[in-house]
């Protein structure tokens, strides 16, 4: 009897499944028609971000960058004579919330463009929705190659303005091996963070390929505050440098504890380091370390100086890389909207895909056929609690 009961609903499902499929197809068509906003109304930009939860500080930064960019555009008269507005929903750093609020932004709020998410795993939850409803999505800082891909195909509506993990990881490996002539490097990665894991993996394989040796590969978890167990273990392996591709929230403490253990080798990292908090908390522990970034603060390029000045005036703090990438993501999207023949999803999508030589604060952005930003990377050396320009790595 038990078995029969279990099978009954299954049989019924078969009958219904056919209807479900057809329904999904209809949804897509209906929304595509509706996605162009009514003329004269405000153009809405949707932003999905973690405003609460473990990664709230990144979502918060990105949102500030986006709002700055949109307000600037409004001050210049908006787009096609219409003002813009940003609608941000909090996803609490959860995939299913990201999926839910993305649907809400697209279907109910009828946004023209989606921005977000910081983390690749949440962008992966947003991407299918952007595709299904044909609303272009620009992610500021999701670096995993999978984000713009659906299997082997490129996701038609998903773009990004940041580096990819393979590019940044390999660039730092090449810099360590070829420029710094290092042979023995240890890796300390955030095992819960796909950005950190991705960078570590690509760094590791490139560095080995170039003849270097990875002497140790240790992990920590975001939210930890003591890293001495791992660092003591690394110390015994006598590396010439430690690659720590995490976010500044942990890197500053890691740097301090490295020095406290009497380990004086340089640390190396990626663009997740970029924040004034890094230096404030590390207090000199990072002197002589290297990280890759989008721009160097002593870059006197007017765009960057102006951006930093405006950001400081409005929010009273130096922008971190998340804020800069959020700013650029919004500007790439808005510039494309201005160029697009109308404000329907497909038209904006085509315009974003055609982005070429866009002068952003995080570099000159050209989007390639895979919807990834192709832009050079700068390597900075930390001296006197600030990054000093060392080298530029061009994308291949």
């Amino acid at each position: 009897m038990h078995r029969v009961r279990g099978l009954a609903p299954l049989a019924l499902l078969l009958a219904l499944a056919a209807c479900e499929k057809r329904k999904a197809a209809e949804d897509t068509v209906a929304s595509a028609a509706a996605s162009g906003p009514a003329a004269g109304a405000q153009i809405l930009i949707g932003h999905v971000a973690s405003l609460t939860g473990n990664e709230a500080t990144f979502g918060d930064s990105t949102d500030k960058g986006i709002r700055l960019a949109v307000d600037e555009q409004n001050a210049r008269g908006g787009i096609k004579g219409r003002q813009l507005a940003v609608k941000t929903y909090d996803d609490q750093g959860k995939q299913e919330e990201a999926s839910l609020v993305t649907t809400r932004l697209v279907v109910d709020d009828k946004v023209s463009v989606l921005l977000g998410e910081v983390a690749s795993k949440r962008s992966l939850a947003m991407a299918p929705i952007a595709d299904q409803y044909q609303v272009p999505m620009v992610t500021p800082s999701s670096t995993n190659p999978k984000v713009t891909k659906d299997g082997d195909k490129v996701r038609p509506y998903v773009f990004r303005v940041c580096y990819l993990d393979p590019f940044q990881g390999a660039a730092m490996a090449r810099f360590a091996r070829d420029t710094l002539k290092l042979k023995r490097v240890a890796v300390l990665r955030d095992v819960g963070n796909d950005y950190s894991v991705g960078l570590a993996d690509f760094f590791l394989s490139k560095f080995k390929e170039l003849g270097g040796e990875i002497v140790d590969d240790q992990s920590y978890k975001a939210g930890d505050s003591d890293f001495k167990a791992q660092l003591t273990a690394i110390k015994r392996k006598k590396p010439e440098a430690i690659f720590v591709p995490g976010y500044y929230t942990e890197v500053a403490l890691i740097a301090r504890q490295t020095r406290e253990l009497g380990l004086t080798v340089p640390l190396m990292g990626g663009d997740g380091w970029e924040s004034s908090k890094l230096f404030e908390i590390a207090r000199g522990a990072l002197e002589g370390s290297y990280f890759s970034n989008h721009y160097s603060p002593d870059d006197s390029g007017p765009r960057i100086v102006e951006f930093v000045k405006k950001f400081q005036a409005r929010y009273g703090g130096v922008p971190d890389s998340m804020a800069a990438l959020g700013y650029d993501a919004a500007r790439v999207a808005m510039e494309a909207m201005a160029r697009a023949r109308d404000l329907s999803g497909p038209a904006i999508r085509d315009a974003i895909a055609a982005t070429k030589g866009f002068a952003g604060v995080t570099g000159v952005i050209t989007l390639d056929a895979e919807h990834n930003a192709v832009k050079p990377l700068v390597v900075l050396k930390i001296e006197g609690n600030a990054g000093k320009y060392v080298a530029t790595v061009q994308p291949d």
Partner: protein, 336 residues
């Protein structure tokens, strides 16, 4: 009661629910549909946790761990079956059968995990059990993050999962969990679980195989948590290990206690109220969770026994009739 009658009675809720679900799926706009889907998944979670925390009185804090096992097992099965189509069925029907199969795999995997965690409950009580279940959830997360990306995707998780979860699947899952819990509560099994909750020593003295029943409760509960995991995985299209951390388990516990420990109706209502309530608060941005926290405290102070205590909706209806089947009437468990 004859077999046929019993079968008909357990099928009835599915038959009643189907047209409603189908109509909702057909005509409800996408965003409310999605919210309803989450409501349904939370119902599956809360009611299944109620079997352990409410019926049996064991304190489990690892429900998200079972959910995680179910989600990953379902997702891996679906990815493995991505190119399979059953030749004797049209494509949509074949898809539905395969998804149903994958969900069952997820439930099976989660119930094995439930067995593994249920076994320590032979020795541990109360808060010690809570710690073990919590630890189990953390172990799952930590192990998934540490396995090579090619298998479970490590910290990035699995993505590109086919979006097969519809309101109908979720609705049927919710109906199934409610029917299961209700039949369990009215059965000998359920009586034994209530006895364990009220007084484990006395239950054992009365000849109740406490160990066996506790483990069975864990297994059943875990299986449905696995179902919830499978449904959420194919609703979002992506899963990652931290989705199923101990905060998720806490959310499930909150729903169970807020609804009333041991009350199926309570769990259903609490899951609905909390999920929809949080959606309505969305406009408040970062004040939303502050409001949610305050709501929890105030609701609990106002109704310490939970919204429904141990009462059930169907008790109202049942009381009006003469006690036709006296053995199964009356609120389960009664007041502590």
């Amino acid at each position: 009661m004859g077999r046929a009658v019993s079968l008909a009675r357990s099928l009835l809720p599915f038959l009643v629910a189907l047209p409603f679900l189908w109509a909702l799926q057909r005509w409800s706009p996408p965003y409310p549909t999605l919210v309803l889907r989450y409501v349904g998944i939370n119902i599956v979670l809360a009611v299944s946790l109620n079997v352990v925390n409410g019926f049996t009185g064991q304190f489990s804090l690892g429900h998200a761990g079972f959910m995680s096992v179910g989600a990953y097992a379902t997702a891996k099965t679906m990815l493995a079956l991505a190119d399979v189509q059953l030749a004797f069925l049209p494509e949509p029907a074949s898809d539905a059968v395969l998804f149903g199969f994958a969900l069952l795999v997820g439930m099976a995997a989660a119930s094995v995990a439930g067995l593994l965690v249920g076994l320590p409950s032979l020795r541990l009580r109360g808060d010690y059990l809570a710690i073990v279940t919590l630890g189990f959830g953390e172990i799952i997360r930590s192990v998934i993050q540490a396995t090579p990306p090619a298998f479970l995707g490590a910290s990035l998780g699995l993505s590109g999962l086919p979006l097969r979860t519809t309101l109908i699947w979720v609705g049927l899952g919710a109906v199934a969990v409610v029917v299961m819990a209700r039949r369990l509560a009215l059965s000998t099994q359920g009586r034994a679980l209530f006895a364990i909750r009220e007084d484990e020593v006395a239950a054992e003295a009365m000849g109740v195989d406490t160990t066996g029943y506790k483990v069975r409760a864990f297994v059943i509960s875990a299986a449905f948590a696995g179902l919830a995991g499978g449904l959420i995985a194919h609703s979002v299209g992506a899963i990652e290990p931290t989705s199923f951390d101990f905060k998720r388990s806490m959310e499930a516990v909150v729903m169970v206690v807020l609804g009333g420990l041991g009350s199926i109706t309570g769990s259903v209502v609490a899951a609905t109220v909390l999920t929809v309530g949080l959606e309505l608060l969305r406009e408040f941005q970062d004040y939303r969770m502050v409001a949610y926290a305050l709501m929890l405290v105030v609701l609990m102070l106002a109704r310490p026994q939970g919204l429904f205590g141990t009462a059930e909706l169907w008790d109202l209806w049942r009381r009006k009739r003469p006690a036709a089947s006296a053995a199964s009437a009356g609120p389960p468990g009664g007041a502590a």
